[in-house]
Amino acid sequence: MQKAKDEFVDVSAVPHPIECEAPNDQVTKETLIGSNIKYLITGIVFGIVFVKAEIISWYRIQEMFRFHSFHMYGVIGTAVIVGAISVWAIKRFGIKTMQGETVVFHDKQFHWGNVIGGVMFGLGWGITGACPGPLFAQIGSGFLVVIVTLLSAVAGTWVYGLLQKKLPH
C-alpha cells in the first residue's frame, strides 16, 4: 500500500506532458462541488453554443472538409482570435485568477505524435463528424448511438496509454 502511494507522488512529479495536457494549475485548495460547479456552468454554455451553431452537425463537418461553406472556419477562426487576444491581455496586464493566483501557461513540446496522432484524429473526426467536445453535446441533444462512439473513444485513449512507450514520439 505504501508503495502505491509513493508511485502516485513520483508520477505527479514527472514534468508536462506526462501529467496532463489540459492541466489544473490552481494552488488554492478546491472542494468537489463548490469549486467545480463553475466549470459545469461554463461547460453548459459551451454545449449550448456547440448545438446552436450546429458545430455538432455531421453535415457541417462534411461541408467544412469539402470547402463548401465558411461557417466552421468562421467559428474556429473567431474563437482563435478571441482566445489569442485574451491570452495576450492576461500576460500583458498580469491579470490574476479569481483566487489571486498568477495564470500559468505551458509551452507545448513538439513530438511526432502531433503529426501521426493528428492525422488519425482527423480521420476519426471526418467519419464521426465529431471531435471530443461535440461527442458529449451530440449525446445530450438526443443522438444516443453516439454513446458507442464515446465509449470507443475512451477505449482508444486506453489503448494509447497501453502502447505509449512503444510508439514513435
Binding site: V45, S86, A130, V159
Partner: protein, 187 residues
C-alpha cells in the same frame, strides 16, 4: 428573444463565445481548455490497469469532468428548450455530393439514416461508430490534444506544435471525406 435564440447562431457569435471560454477557465481557476483529456481521466478513474499513463491524481483534474458533464447538459438544454423549428440549411454543393453517395440529407443535425442503433450492427455502422470513435480517442491522446486543446487553446497561446497538429487534423479529415468516405458508402 427566445425566438431569436432558437434560430441557428451565426459563426461570429459562436466563435466569440468559444474563444472566451479560454480566459474564462484561466481566470476562474487556472484551468486550461482541453476536452480530450476528460477521456484520459475517465480511464485513470475507472480502468487504470497497471499502466503508468493512467497513474496520476485524476481527482485533481476532476474539474474537466464537470466541464464535459456541462457540455452534455448544454446539449440537452439546446435540444429541448432552444431547438431550431426549421431544418438545417447546408450548402447545396454538399447536399449534391452526399446524395451522389446515397446519403439521405434529412434536415436534422445528424443524418438519421447513419446515426441509428439499427445501423450499429452493419459493417458501415461498425466503421462509423466503433472505428471512428477509436481513432478520435487514440489520435487525440497521441497528438496531445484535440480541436479544443490544440486548435483553440494551443493556437491562442501561439504554440507552433499546436499549429502542426491542427494542420494534421485537417489533412486526416480531408483524406477521410474525399477518399475513404466515398468508398465506405459504396460498401
Amino acid at each position: 428573444m427566445i425566438e431569436l435564440m432558437r434560430q441557428p447562431w451565426p459563426w461570429y457569435v459562436a466563435g466569440a463565445v468559444i474563444g472566451l471560454t479560454v480566459p474564462a477557465l484561466l481566470l476562474l481557476g487556472n484551468k486550461h481548455l482541453g476536452i480530450s483529456s476528460s477521456l484520459r481521466h475517465v480511464c485513470a478513474a475507472c480502468i487504470p490497469g497497471n499502466i503508468s499513463f493512467f497513474k496520476y491524481d485524476w481527482k485533481k483534474e476532476i474539474w474537466n469532468l464537470f466541464f464535459v458533464g456541462g457540455v452534455l447538459i448544454g446539449g440537452i438544454i439546446a435540444a429541448q428548450a432552444l431547438s431550431n423549428p426549421d431544418q438545417i440549411v447546408i450548402s447545396e454543393k454538399t447536399v449534391t455530393d452526399l446524395q451522389a453517395l446515397n446519403v439521405t440529407v434529412d434536415g436534422e443535425l445528424m443524418p438519421a439514416s447513419i446515426f441509428s442503433f439499427e445501423n450499429l450492427l452493419t459493417i458501415q455502422g461498425f466503421l462509423f461508430f466503433v472505428v471512428g470513435g477509436f481513432l478520435v480517442g487514440f489520435g487525440t491522446r497521441y497528438a496531445g490534444g484535440c480541436t479544443s486543446g490544440h486548435t483553440i487553446m494551443g493556437l491562442s497561446n501561439l504554440q507552433w506544435p499546436s499549429l502542426v497538429a491542427t494542420c494534421c487534423f485537417m489533412v486526416g479529415g480531408m483524406v477521410m471525406i474525399h477518399f475513404i468516405f466515398p468508398w465506405l458508402m459504396s460498401l
